[in-house]
Protein backbone atom coordinates (compact mmCIF):
# COMPACT_ATOMS: atom_id res chain seq x y z
CA UNK A 1 0.00 0.00 0.00
CA UNK A 2 1.14 3.46 -0.76
CA UNK A 3 1.61 5.18 2.66
CA UNK A 4 0.93 8.60 1.21
CA UNK A 5 -2.27 7.47 -0.41
CA UNK A 6 -3.32 5.89 2.83
CA UNK A 7 -2.58 9.03 4.72
CA UNK A 8 -4.55 11.17 2.34
CA UNK A 9 -7.53 8.88 2.18
CA UNK A 10 -7.94 8.13 5.88
CA UNK A 11 -9.11 10.89 8.17
CA UNK A 12 -6.42 12.79 10.00
CA UNK A 13 -5.91 12.90 13.74
CA UNK A 14 -7.28 16.43 13.72
CA UNK A 15 -10.47 15.37 11.99
CA UNK A 16 -10.98 12.63 14.50
CA UNK A 17 -10.39 15.03 17.35
CA UNK A 18 -12.92 17.38 15.90
CA UNK A 19 -15.43 14.58 15.59
CA UNK A 20 -14.86 13.68 19.23
CA UNK A 21 -15.41 17.30 20.22
CA UNK A 22 -18.60 17.46 18.26
CA UNK A 23 -19.90 14.24 19.80
CA UNK A 24 -19.13 15.45 23.33
CA UNK A 25 -20.67 18.89 22.95
CA UNK A 26 -23.71 17.63 21.06
CA UNK A 27 -24.32 15.06 23.79
CA UNK A 28 -24.18 17.72 26.47
CA UNK A 29 -26.56 20.00 24.65
CA UNK A 30 -28.87 17.08 23.92
CA UNK A 31 -28.89 16.26 27.61
CA UNK A 32 -29.90 19.79 28.53
CA UNK A 33 -32.61 19.83 25.90
CA UNK A 34 -33.84 16.52 27.24
CA UNK A 35 -34.01 17.92 30.77
CA UNK A 36 -35.91 21.00 29.63
CA UNK A 37 -38.23 18.91 27.51
CA UNK A 38 -38.99 16.46 30.29
CA UNK A 39 -39.84 19.25 32.72
CA UNK A 40 -41.91 20.93 30.07
CA UNK A 41 -43.85 17.77 29.27
CA UNK A 42 -44.24 17.07 32.96
CA UNK A 43 -45.56 20.51 33.86
CA UNK A 44 -47.68 20.71 30.72
CA UNK A 45 -49.31 17.33 31.24
CA UNK A 46 -50.13 18.18 34.85
CA UNK A 47 -51.18 21.72 34.04
CA UNK A 48 -53.38 20.72 31.12
CA UNK A 49 -55.33 18.29 33.32
CA UNK A 50 -57.25 21.24 34.72
CA UNK A 51 -58.68 21.91 31.30
CA UNK A 52 -59.03 18.38 29.95
CA UNK A 53 -59.89 16.38 33.05
CA UNK A 54 -61.59 19.00 35.18
CA UNK A 55 -63.06 20.75 32.14
CA UNK A 56 -62.16 24.24 33.19
CA UNK A 57 -62.28 26.87 30.47
CA UNK A 58 -58.82 28.08 29.52
CA UNK A 59 -59.99 31.59 28.75
CA UNK A 60 -61.86 31.86 32.05
CA UNK A 61 -58.72 30.67 33.77
CA UNK A 62 -56.68 33.46 32.24
CA UNK A 63 -59.19 36.25 32.71
CA UNK A 64 -61.22 35.19 35.77
CA UNK A 65 -60.72 37.24 38.88
CA UNK A 66 -61.98 34.76 41.42
CA UNK A 67 -59.50 32.21 42.74
CA UNK A 68 -60.96 29.61 45.01
CA UNK A 69 -60.20 26.15 43.64
CA UNK A 70 -61.98 24.20 46.34
CA UNK A 71 -65.31 25.95 45.73
CA UNK A 72 -67.61 25.71 42.75
CA UNK A 73 -69.53 28.61 41.23
CA UNK A 74 -73.19 28.74 40.27
CA UNK A 75 -72.55 26.70 37.12
CA UNK A 76 -70.86 23.93 39.07
CA UNK A 77 -67.41 24.75 37.75
CA UNK A 78 -64.48 25.32 40.09
CA UNK A 79 -63.60 28.99 40.59
CA UNK A 80 -60.31 29.21 38.80
CA UNK A 81 -59.51 32.76 37.87
CA UNK A 82 -55.78 33.26 37.75
CA UNK A 83 -55.77 36.88 36.64
CA UNK A 84 -55.00 38.34 40.09
CA UNK A 85 -51.87 36.22 40.36
CA UNK A 86 -50.82 36.88 36.78
CA UNK A 87 -51.20 40.61 37.39
CA UNK A 88 -49.27 40.33 40.65
CA UNK A 89 -46.41 38.41 39.06
CA UNK A 90 -46.23 40.87 36.17
CA UNK A 91 -46.32 43.78 38.58
CA UNK A 92 -43.50 42.74 40.87
CA UNK A 93 -41.31 41.44 38.08
CA UNK A 94 -41.53 44.48 35.86
CA UNK A 95 -41.13 46.91 38.74
CA UNK A 96 -38.19 45.01 40.18
CA UNK A 97 -36.42 44.89 36.85
CA UNK A 98 -37.19 48.57 36.21
CA UNK A 99 -35.53 49.41 39.52
CA UNK A 100 -32.66 47.01 39.04
CA UNK A 101 -31.62 47.70 35.45
CA UNK A 102 -30.23 51.23 35.85
CA UNK A 103 -28.46 50.22 39.04
CA UNK A 104 -27.03 47.12 37.45
CA UNK A 105 -25.83 48.90 34.32
CA UNK A 106 -24.39 51.75 36.35
CA UNK A 107 -22.54 49.44 38.67
CA UNK A 108 -21.32 47.27 35.80
CA UNK A 109 -20.03 50.36 33.95
CA UNK A 110 -18.32 51.56 37.07
CA UNK A 111 -16.67 48.18 37.51
CA UNK A 112 -15.51 47.80 33.93
CA UNK A 113 -14.76 51.37 32.86
CA UNK A 114 -14.08 53.54 35.89
CA UNK A 115 -12.98 51.63 38.95
CA UNK A 116 -9.44 50.61 39.67
CA UNK A 117 -8.64 46.95 39.41
CA UNK A 118 -8.83 46.55 43.18
CA UNK A 119 -12.14 48.35 43.52
CA UNK A 120 -13.55 46.19 40.79
CA UNK A 121 -12.49 43.00 42.51
CA UNK A 122 -13.97 44.02 45.84
CA UNK A 123 -17.27 44.99 44.24
CA UNK A 124 -17.38 41.74 42.36
CA UNK A 125 -16.86 39.59 45.45
CA UNK A 126 -19.54 41.48 47.35
CA UNK A 127 -21.99 40.92 44.52
CA UNK A 128 -21.17 37.24 44.38
CA UNK A 129 -21.74 36.98 48.11
CA UNK A 130 -25.24 38.31 47.72
CA UNK A 131 -26.23 35.48 45.41
CA UNK A 132 -25.54 33.04 48.21
CA UNK A 133 -27.95 34.55 50.72
CA UNK A 134 -30.96 32.24 50.93
CA UNK A 135 -34.24 33.75 49.83
CA UNK A 136 -35.68 33.12 53.28
CA UNK A 137 -33.17 35.54 54.72
CA UNK A 138 -34.06 38.14 52.10
CA UNK A 139 -37.68 37.58 53.02
CA UNK A 140 -37.08 38.22 56.69
CA UNK A 141 -35.03 41.32 56.07
CA UNK A 142 -37.88 42.47 53.83
CA UNK A 143 -40.37 41.72 56.58
CA UNK A 144 -38.43 43.55 59.26
CA UNK A 145 -37.00 46.46 57.22
CA UNK A 146 -38.91 47.08 54.00
CA UNK A 147 -42.47 46.39 55.16
CA UNK A 148 -42.31 48.83 58.12
CA UNK A 149 -40.49 51.35 55.90
CA UNK A 150 -43.23 51.26 53.26
CA UNK A 151 -45.95 51.35 55.91
CA UNK A 152 -44.52 54.36 57.71
CA UNK A 153 -43.29 56.38 54.75
CA UNK A 154 -45.52 55.53 51.83
CA UNK A 155 -48.71 54.09 53.25
CA UNK A 156 -50.93 51.03 53.40
CA UNK A 157 -50.25 48.01 55.58
CA UNK A 158 -46.78 47.66 54.10
CA UNK A 159 -47.58 44.37 52.40
CA UNK A 160 -47.99 44.65 48.66
CA UNK A 161 -46.47 44.78 45.23
CA UNK A 162 -44.17 47.67 46.08
CA UNK A 163 -42.54 45.85 49.00
CA UNK A 164 -42.31 42.71 46.89
CA UNK A 165 -40.53 44.51 44.10
CA UNK A 166 -38.11 46.16 46.54
CA UNK A 167 -37.10 42.76 47.85
CA UNK A 168 -36.83 41.34 44.35
CA UNK A 169 -34.81 44.35 43.24
CA UNK A 170 -32.09 43.44 45.72
CA UNK A 171 -32.35 39.77 44.82
CA UNK A 172 -31.98 40.18 41.07
CA UNK A 173 -29.37 42.93 41.29
CA UNK A 174 -26.37 40.59 41.64
CA UNK A 175 -27.50 38.37 38.75
CA UNK A 176 -28.16 41.25 36.37
CA UNK A 177 -25.02 43.12 37.40
CA UNK A 178 -22.59 40.26 37.05
CA UNK A 179 -24.02 39.24 33.71
CA UNK A 180 -23.90 42.81 32.45
CA UNK A 181 -20.27 42.98 33.52
CA UNK A 182 -19.59 39.87 31.46
CA UNK A 183 -21.10 41.32 28.34
CA UNK A 184 -19.35 44.67 28.80
CA UNK A 185 -16.05 42.85 29.10
CA UNK A 186 -16.81 40.97 25.91
CA UNK A 187 -16.76 44.22 23.92
CA UNK A 188 -13.53 44.09 21.89
CA UNK A 189 -10.94 46.47 23.22
CA UNK A 190 -10.21 48.10 19.89
CA UNK A 191 -13.79 49.42 19.70
CA UNK A 192 -13.08 51.46 22.75
CA UNK A 193 -9.63 52.45 21.62
CA UNK A 194 -10.91 53.54 18.23
CA UNK A 195 -13.60 55.66 19.81
CA UNK A 196 -11.21 57.34 22.22
CA UNK A 197 -8.74 57.91 19.43
CA UNK A 198 -11.43 59.77 17.55
CA UNK A 199 -11.58 62.21 20.42
CA UNK A 200 -14.76 60.95 22.03
CA UNK A 201 -15.13 61.45 25.76
CA UNK A 202 -15.43 58.50 28.09
CA UNK A 203 -19.16 58.96 28.38
CA UNK A 204 -19.57 59.20 24.61
CA UNK A 205 -17.58 56.01 24.23
CA UNK A 206 -19.68 54.25 26.86
CA UNK A 207 -22.96 55.50 25.47
CA UNK A 208 -22.34 55.29 21.75
CA UNK A 209 -19.99 52.32 21.51
CA UNK A 210 -19.83 50.08 24.53
CA UNK A 211 -23.52 50.00 25.43
CA UNK A 212 -24.55 49.66 21.78
CA UNK A 213 -22.32 46.71 21.09
CA UNK A 214 -23.29 44.90 24.27
CA UNK A 215 -27.03 45.53 23.94
CA UNK A 216 -27.95 41.92 23.35
CA UNK A 217 -25.80 40.75 26.26
CA UNK A 218 -27.42 43.27 28.59
CA UNK A 219 -30.86 42.24 27.40
CA UNK A 220 -30.05 38.63 28.18
CA UNK A 221 -28.92 39.71 31.63
CA UNK A 222 -32.26 41.45 32.10
CA UNK A 223 -34.15 38.36 30.95
CA UNK A 224 -32.27 36.27 33.46
CA UNK A 225 -33.07 38.82 36.14
CA UNK A 226 -36.74 38.74 35.19
CA UNK A 227 -36.66 34.98 35.19
CA UNK A 228 -35.23 34.95 38.67
CA UNK A 229 -37.85 37.45 39.81
CA UNK A 230 -40.62 35.41 38.25
CA UNK A 231 -39.56 32.17 39.82
CA UNK A 232 -38.79 33.55 43.25
CA UNK A 233 -41.29 32.43 45.84
CA UNK A 234 -40.19 32.27 49.45
CA UNK A 235 -39.05 35.87 49.82
CA UNK A 236 -41.87 37.53 47.91
CA UNK A 237 -44.41 35.46 49.75
CA UNK A 238 -43.43 37.06 53.03
CA UNK A 239 -43.84 40.65 51.95
CA UNK A 240 -46.53 40.73 49.30
CA UNK A 241 -49.37 39.66 51.57
CA UNK A 242 -50.70 36.76 49.51
CA UNK A 243 -54.24 37.89 48.95
CA UNK A 244 -55.63 36.32 45.80
CA UNK A 245 -57.51 39.45 44.80
CA UNK A 246 -56.92 41.86 41.94
CA UNK A 247 -54.28 44.36 43.04
CA UNK A 248 -55.88 47.80 43.19
CA UNK A 249 -52.72 49.69 44.02
CA UNK A 250 -49.06 49.05 44.59
CA UNK A 251 -49.68 49.22 48.32
CA UNK A 252 -52.52 46.74 48.69
CA UNK A 253 -51.97 43.06 49.34
CA UNK A 254 -51.58 40.99 46.21
CA UNK A 255 -50.24 37.59 45.29
CA UNK A 256 -47.99 36.09 42.67
CA UNK A 257 -48.19 32.83 40.77
CA UNK A 258 -45.31 31.41 42.73
CA UNK A 259 -46.53 32.45 46.16
CA UNK A 260 -49.91 30.80 45.62
CA UNK A 261 -48.19 27.77 44.16
CA UNK A 262 -45.75 27.36 47.03
CA UNK A 263 -48.32 27.82 49.73
CA UNK A 264 -50.92 25.55 48.22
CA UNK A 265 -48.95 22.65 46.87
CA UNK A 266 -48.33 20.96 50.21
CA UNK A 267 -51.95 21.25 51.26
CA UNK A 268 -53.59 19.75 48.21
CA UNK A 269 -53.84 16.17 47.07
CA UNK A 270 -52.41 15.10 43.75
CA UNK A 271 -55.03 14.59 41.08
CA UNK A 272 -57.63 16.92 42.60
CA UNK A 273 -58.84 20.10 40.91
CA UNK A 274 -57.06 22.25 43.47
CA UNK A 275 -53.74 20.53 42.82
CA UNK A 276 -54.10 20.51 39.05
CA UNK A 277 -54.96 24.19 39.11
CA UNK A 278 -51.65 24.89 40.85
CA UNK A 279 -49.82 23.02 38.12
CA UNK A 280 -51.67 25.15 35.60
CA UNK A 281 -50.19 28.17 37.37
CA UNK A 282 -46.76 26.63 36.91
CA UNK A 283 -47.53 26.14 33.24
CA UNK A 284 -48.59 29.78 32.92
CA UNK A 285 -45.33 30.73 34.57
CA UNK A 286 -43.41 28.75 31.98
CA UNK A 287 -45.38 30.20 29.10
CA UNK A 288 -45.00 33.71 30.43
CA UNK A 289 -41.25 33.45 30.72
CA UNK A 290 -41.17 32.04 27.21
CA UNK A 291 -43.19 35.00 26.03
CA UNK A 292 -40.92 37.50 27.76
CA UNK A 293 -37.97 35.78 26.28
CA UNK A 294 -39.26 36.08 22.73
CA UNK A 295 -40.26 39.71 23.16
CA UNK A 296 -36.91 40.76 24.55
CA UNK A 297 -35.13 38.85 21.80
CA UNK A 298 -37.12 40.71 19.18
CA UNK A 299 -36.28 44.02 20.81
CA UNK A 300 -32.64 43.03 20.91
CA UNK A 301 -32.63 42.18 17.22
CA UNK A 302 -34.14 45.53 16.35
CA UNK A 303 -31.71 47.39 18.56
CA UNK A 304 -28.74 45.86 16.80
CA UNK A 305 -29.83 46.90 13.34
Amino acid sequence: MDPIKKKIQSSSRETRQDLLGKVITYTCIALIVLVVLSIFVFVASKGMATFFVNKANFWDFLTGKNWNPSMVDSKGKPMLGALPMIAGSFGVTILAVLFATPFAIGTALYMTEIASHKGERILQSVIELLVGIPSVVYGFIGLSVIVPFVRNNIGGSGYGILSGSFVLFVMVLPTVTSMTVDSLRAVPRFYKEASLALGATKWQTIYKVILRSSTSGILTAIIFGMARAFGEALAVQMVIGNAAVMPTSLLSSASTLTSVLTMGIGNTVMGTVANNALWSLALILLLMSLFFNIVVRLIGRKGRM
Binding site: T25, T27, T107, Y110, I133, A186, T201, T262, R297
Partner: protein
Protein backbone atom coordinates in the same frame (compact mmCIF):
# COMPACT_ATOMS: atom_id res chain seq x y z
CA UNK B 1 -17.23 72.45 26.58
CA UNK B 2 -20.76 71.15 26.78
CA UNK B 3 -19.61 67.68 25.86
CA UNK B 4 -16.96 67.68 28.55
CA UNK B 5 -19.52 68.74 31.15
CA UNK B 6 -21.87 66.06 29.97
CA UNK B 7 -19.09 63.55 30.34
CA UNK B 8 -18.35 64.69 33.86
CA UNK B 9 -21.98 64.53 34.92
CA UNK B 10 -22.53 61.11 33.40
CA UNK B 11 -19.41 59.61 34.96
CA UNK B 12 -20.37 61.00 38.33
CA UNK B 13 -23.88 59.61 38.04
CA UNK B 14 -22.37 56.20 37.40
CA UNK B 15 -20.16 56.63 40.45
CA UNK B 16 -23.17 57.57 42.58
CA UNK B 17 -25.13 54.57 41.37
CA UNK B 18 -22.24 52.25 42.16
CA UNK B 19 -21.89 53.84 45.59
CA UNK B 20 -25.60 53.38 46.25
CA UNK B 21 -25.38 49.74 45.33
CA UNK B 22 -22.41 49.31 47.63
CA UNK B 23 -24.35 50.95 50.45
CA UNK B 24 -27.30 48.61 49.92
CA UNK B 25 -25.04 45.58 49.79
CA UNK B 26 -23.05 46.59 52.85
CA UNK B 27 -26.24 47.24 54.75
CA UNK B 28 -27.52 43.76 53.92
CA UNK B 29 -24.28 42.00 54.73
CA UNK B 30 -23.80 44.08 57.86
CA UNK B 31 -27.31 43.36 59.06
CA UNK B 32 -26.84 39.62 58.68
CA UNK B 33 -23.32 39.47 60.05
CA UNK B 34 -23.90 41.75 63.03
CA UNK B 35 -26.94 39.86 64.19
CA UNK B 36 -25.40 36.48 63.45
CA UNK B 37 -21.71 36.48 64.26
CA UNK B 38 -22.13 36.73 68.07
CA UNK B 39 -23.95 33.38 67.99
CA UNK B 40 -21.18 31.55 66.21
CA UNK B 41 -19.02 29.37 68.38
CA UNK B 42 -17.11 26.17 67.94
CA UNK B 43 -19.95 24.33 69.63
CA UNK B 44 -22.48 25.91 67.24
CA UNK B 45 -20.48 24.89 64.20
CA UNK B 46 -19.92 21.30 65.21
CA UNK B 47 -22.85 20.02 67.25
CA UNK B 48 -26.08 18.52 66.03
CA UNK B 49 -29.26 20.58 65.76
CA UNK B 50 -32.05 20.48 68.31
CA UNK B 51 -35.68 20.25 67.32
CA UNK B 52 -37.19 21.99 70.32
CA UNK B 53 -34.60 22.57 73.02
CA UNK B 54 -32.12 25.42 72.88
CA UNK B 55 -28.41 25.06 72.29
CA UNK B 56 -28.60 23.33 68.94
CA UNK B 57 -25.81 23.58 66.41
CA UNK B 58 -25.54 23.31 62.67
CA UNK B 59 -22.64 20.88 62.23
CA UNK B 60 -24.44 18.33 60.09
CA UNK B 61 -26.19 20.97 58.00
CA UNK B 62 -22.93 22.74 57.29
CA UNK B 63 -21.32 19.54 56.09
CA UNK B 64 -24.39 18.68 54.01
CA UNK B 65 -24.35 22.06 52.28
CA UNK B 66 -20.76 21.71 51.23
CA UNK B 67 -21.08 18.07 50.21
CA UNK B 68 -24.22 18.81 48.21
CA UNK B 69 -22.46 21.68 46.46
CA UNK B 70 -19.55 19.48 45.45
CA UNK B 71 -21.89 16.77 44.16
CA UNK B 72 -23.94 19.28 42.21
CA UNK B 73 -20.82 20.73 40.63
CA UNK B 74 -19.54 17.28 39.73
CA UNK B 75 -22.78 16.57 37.90
CA UNK B 76 -23.49 19.94 36.37
CA UNK B 77 -20.06 21.31 35.48
CA UNK B 78 -19.10 18.81 32.73
CA UNK B 79 -22.53 19.07 31.13
CA UNK B 80 -22.57 22.84 31.09
CA UNK B 81 -18.97 22.96 29.92
CA UNK B 82 -19.89 20.84 26.92
CA UNK B 83 -23.04 22.82 26.28
CA UNK B 84 -21.20 26.12 26.66
CA UNK B 85 -18.54 25.06 24.19
CA UNK B 86 -21.25 23.96 21.80
CA UNK B 87 -23.08 27.26 21.99
CA UNK B 88 -20.03 29.43 21.58
CA UNK B 89 -17.95 27.39 19.13
CA UNK B 90 -19.97 24.80 17.27
CA UNK B 91 -23.55 26.02 17.22
CA UNK B 92 -24.76 26.73 13.70
CA UNK B 93 -26.77 29.91 13.35
CA UNK B 94 -30.15 28.35 12.84
CA UNK B 95 -33.52 27.99 14.44
CA UNK B 96 -32.46 24.90 16.38
CA UNK B 97 -29.76 26.83 18.18
CA UNK B 98 -32.07 29.64 19.13
CA UNK B 99 -34.60 27.15 20.44
CA UNK B 100 -31.90 25.55 22.57
CA UNK B 101 -30.87 28.94 23.87
CA UNK B 102 -34.43 29.80 24.72
CA UNK B 103 -34.97 26.45 26.40
CA UNK B 104 -31.99 27.09 28.64
CA UNK B 105 -33.25 30.51 29.62
CA UNK B 106 -36.73 29.20 30.33
CA UNK B 107 -35.20 26.48 32.49
CA UNK B 108 -33.63 29.12 34.68
CA UNK B 109 -36.97 30.79 35.32
CA UNK B 110 -38.66 27.70 36.68
CA UNK B 111 -39.77 28.30 40.23
CA UNK B 112 -37.89 26.19 42.74
CA UNK B 113 -41.07 24.51 43.92
CA UNK B 114 -41.80 23.14 40.48
CA UNK B 115 -38.31 21.72 40.13
CA UNK B 116 -38.59 20.38 43.66
CA UNK B 117 -41.86 18.59 42.97
CA UNK B 118 -40.61 17.31 39.64
CA UNK B 119 -37.60 15.88 41.43
CA UNK B 120 -39.81 14.50 44.17
CA UNK B 121 -42.20 12.68 41.84
CA UNK B 122 -39.52 11.45 39.44
CA UNK B 123 -36.41 10.73 41.49
CA UNK B 124 -37.66 10.31 45.02
CA UNK B 125 -40.81 8.34 44.28
CA UNK B 126 -40.52 6.75 40.83
CA UNK B 127 -36.82 5.96 40.76
CA UNK B 128 -36.95 4.90 44.41
CA UNK B 129 -34.04 7.13 45.30
CA UNK B 130 -35.84 8.31 48.40
CA UNK B 131 -35.15 11.62 50.12
CA UNK B 132 -31.47 11.64 49.46
CA UNK B 133 -28.56 13.91 48.87
CA UNK B 134 -28.34 12.47 45.34
CA UNK B 135 -31.92 13.48 44.50
CA UNK B 136 -31.12 16.91 45.85
CA UNK B 137 -27.97 17.20 43.78
CA UNK B 138 -29.84 16.31 40.60
CA UNK B 139 -32.58 18.82 41.35
CA UNK B 140 -29.99 21.52 41.98
CA UNK B 141 -28.29 20.62 38.71
CA UNK B 142 -31.43 21.85 36.99
CA UNK B 143 -30.86 25.31 38.44
CA UNK B 144 -27.19 25.31 37.88
CA UNK B 145 -27.18 24.21 34.25
CA UNK B 146 -28.61 27.37 32.68
CA UNK B 147 -26.52 29.73 34.78
CA UNK B 148 -23.28 27.84 34.26
CA UNK B 149 -23.88 27.17 30.58
CA UNK B 150 -24.55 30.79 29.83
CA UNK B 151 -21.60 31.92 31.83
CA UNK B 152 -19.22 29.50 30.16
CA UNK B 153 -20.52 30.45 26.74
CA UNK B 154 -20.12 34.13 27.50
CA UNK B 155 -16.58 33.71 28.82
CA UNK B 156 -15.57 31.69 25.77
CA UNK B 157 -17.04 34.36 23.53
CA UNK B 158 -14.99 36.99 25.29
CA UNK B 159 -11.78 35.35 24.10
CA UNK B 160 -10.68 37.25 20.96
CA UNK B 161 -11.08 35.45 17.64
CA UNK B 162 -7.37 36.03 17.03
CA UNK B 163 -6.65 33.16 19.36
CA UNK B 164 -8.90 30.83 17.41
CA UNK B 165 -7.32 31.90 14.14
CA UNK B 166 -3.89 31.33 15.63
CA UNK B 167 -4.86 27.83 16.66
CA UNK B 168 -6.24 27.07 13.24
CA UNK B 169 -3.16 28.46 11.57
CA UNK B 170 -1.03 26.07 13.59
CA UNK B 171 -3.01 23.22 12.11
CA UNK B 172 -4.77 22.35 15.34
CA UNK B 173 -8.21 20.87 15.18
CA UNK B 174 -11.05 23.05 16.37
CA UNK B 175 -11.56 20.85 19.41
CA UNK B 176 -7.92 21.12 20.39
CA UNK B 177 -7.95 24.87 19.86
CA UNK B 178 -10.95 25.18 22.13
CA UNK B 179 -9.71 22.91 24.88
CA UNK B 180 -6.06 23.96 24.86
CA UNK B 181 -6.18 27.62 23.89
CA UNK B 182 -9.60 29.16 24.34
CA UNK B 183 -10.70 27.35 27.48
CA UNK B 184 -7.65 28.23 29.63
CA UNK B 185 -7.96 31.83 28.48
CA UNK B 186 -11.62 31.88 29.52
CA UNK B 187 -10.97 30.27 32.89
CA UNK B 188 -11.41 33.33 35.15
CA UNK B 189 -14.84 33.98 33.67
CA UNK B 190 -15.81 30.37 34.08
CA UNK B 191 -14.73 30.42 37.72
CA UNK B 192 -17.06 33.38 38.26
CA UNK B 193 -19.88 31.27 36.87
CA UNK B 194 -19.03 28.42 39.20
CA UNK B 195 -18.93 30.77 42.16
CA UNK B 196 -22.30 32.29 41.25
CA UNK B 197 -23.78 28.84 40.77
CA UNK B 198 -22.36 27.76 44.10
CA UNK B 199 -24.03 30.71 45.78
CA UNK B 200 -27.34 29.69 44.32
CA UNK B 201 -26.84 26.12 45.54
CA UNK B 202 -25.97 27.27 49.04
CA UNK B 203 -29.01 29.51 49.18
CA UNK B 204 -31.60 27.22 47.65
CA UNK B 205 -34.28 25.87 49.95
CA UNK B 206 -37.60 25.26 48.22
CA UNK B 207 -36.33 22.66 45.75
CA UNK B 208 -34.43 20.77 48.41
CA UNK B 209 -37.33 20.45 50.81
CA UNK B 210 -38.89 17.93 48.45
CA UNK B 211 -35.74 16.18 47.28
CA UNK B 212 -32.87 16.16 49.77
CA UNK B 213 -35.39 16.37 52.57
CA UNK B 214 -35.53 18.47 55.66
CA UNK B 215 -34.18 16.23 58.33
CA UNK B 216 -30.59 15.69 59.28
CA UNK B 217 -30.07 12.10 60.28
CA UNK B 218 -27.34 11.33 62.71
CA UNK B 219 -24.12 10.85 60.87
CA UNK B 220 -20.95 9.40 62.20
CA UNK B 221 -17.92 11.43 61.18
CA UNK B 222 -15.64 8.51 61.98
CA UNK B 223 -17.10 6.39 59.22
CA UNK B 224 -16.03 7.31 55.72
CA UNK B 225 -17.33 4.26 53.89
CA UNK B 226 -19.78 5.76 51.35
CA UNK B 227 -21.94 2.64 51.43
CA UNK B 228 -22.63 2.76 55.14
CA UNK B 229 -25.91 4.47 56.01
CA UNK B 230 -24.36 6.50 58.80
CA UNK B 231 -21.41 7.68 56.76
CA UNK B 232 -21.23 11.36 55.88
CA UNK B 233 -20.40 10.42 52.30
CA UNK B 234 -23.46 8.20 51.81
CA UNK B 235 -25.37 9.40 48.76
CA UNK B 236 -28.69 7.97 49.76
CA UNK B 237 -29.18 9.59 53.14
CA UNK B 238 -31.54 12.51 53.62
CA UNK B 239 -29.60 15.71 54.02
CA UNK B 240 -30.88 18.97 55.34
CA UNK B 241 -28.75 21.88 54.20
CA UNK B 242 -28.11 25.16 55.98
CA UNK B 243 -30.60 27.10 53.87
CA UNK B 244 -33.30 24.50 54.45
CA UNK B 245 -32.52 24.54 58.15
CA UNK B 246 -32.88 28.32 58.25
CA UNK B 247 -36.20 28.02 56.43
CA UNK B 248 -37.38 25.30 58.79
CA UNK B 249 -36.59 27.02 62.04
CA UNK B 250 -38.06 30.26 60.80
CA UNK B 251 -41.30 28.73 59.64
CA UNK B 252 -42.02 26.04 62.21
CA UNK B 253 -39.25 26.18 64.78
CA UNK B 254 -40.36 26.01 68.39
CA UNK B 255 -36.99 26.08 70.08
CA UNK B 256 -36.55 29.09 72.36
CA UNK B 257 -33.40 30.23 70.61
CA UNK B 258 -34.80 29.86 67.07
CA UNK B 259 -34.01 33.40 65.99
CA UNK B 260 -30.47 33.18 67.33
CA UNK B 261 -29.84 29.90 65.53
CA UNK B 262 -31.31 31.34 62.36
CA UNK B 263 -29.21 34.49 62.55
CA UNK B 264 -26.08 32.50 63.33
CA UNK B 265 -26.74 30.06 60.51
CA UNK B 266 -27.27 32.90 58.02
CA UNK B 267 -23.99 34.48 59.03
CA UNK B 268 -22.19 31.14 58.73
CA UNK B 269 -23.71 30.67 55.30
CA UNK B 270 -22.35 34.02 54.13
CA UNK B 271 -18.93 33.29 55.55
CA UNK B 272 -18.89 29.89 53.86
CA UNK B 273 -19.86 31.47 50.53
CA UNK B 274 -17.08 34.01 51.02
CA UNK B 275 -14.53 31.31 51.81
CA UNK B 276 -15.65 29.29 48.83
CA UNK B 277 -15.28 32.33 46.56
CA UNK B 278 -11.76 33.01 47.77
CA UNK B 279 -10.83 29.35 47.52
CA UNK B 280 -12.26 28.99 44.01
CA UNK B 281 -10.42 32.09 42.87
CA UNK B 282 -7.10 30.93 44.25
CA UNK B 283 -7.43 27.57 42.54
CA UNK B 284 -8.67 29.26 39.37
CA UNK B 285 -5.76 31.69 39.28
CA UNK B 286 -3.11 29.06 39.81
CA UNK B 287 -4.74 26.90 37.14
CA UNK B 288 -4.87 29.90 34.82
CA UNK B 289 -1.21 30.57 35.33
CA UNK B 290 -0.28 26.96 34.79
CA UNK B 291 -2.34 26.57 31.63
CA UNK B 292 -1.59 29.86 29.95
CA UNK B 293 2.05 30.12 30.98
CA UNK B 294 1.66 33.65 32.29
CA UNK B 295 4.06 34.24 35.14
Amino acid sequence: MKIKLQNKIAINIIRIIAALVVVILLFLLGDILISGVPHISWHFLTSASQSFASGGGIGVQLFNSIYLLLLTLIISFPISLGAGIFLSEYAPKNIFTSIVRMAIEVLSSLPSVVVGLFGFLLFVVQFQMGFSILSGAIALTFFNLPLLTRNIEESLRAVPDLQREAGMALGLSKWRTVTRVILPEALPGIITGVVLGAGRVFGEAAALIYTAGQSATNIDFGNWNPFNAASPLNLMRPAETLAVHIWKINSEGVMPDASAVSAGASAVLIIVVLLFNIFARIIGNSLYRKLTATK
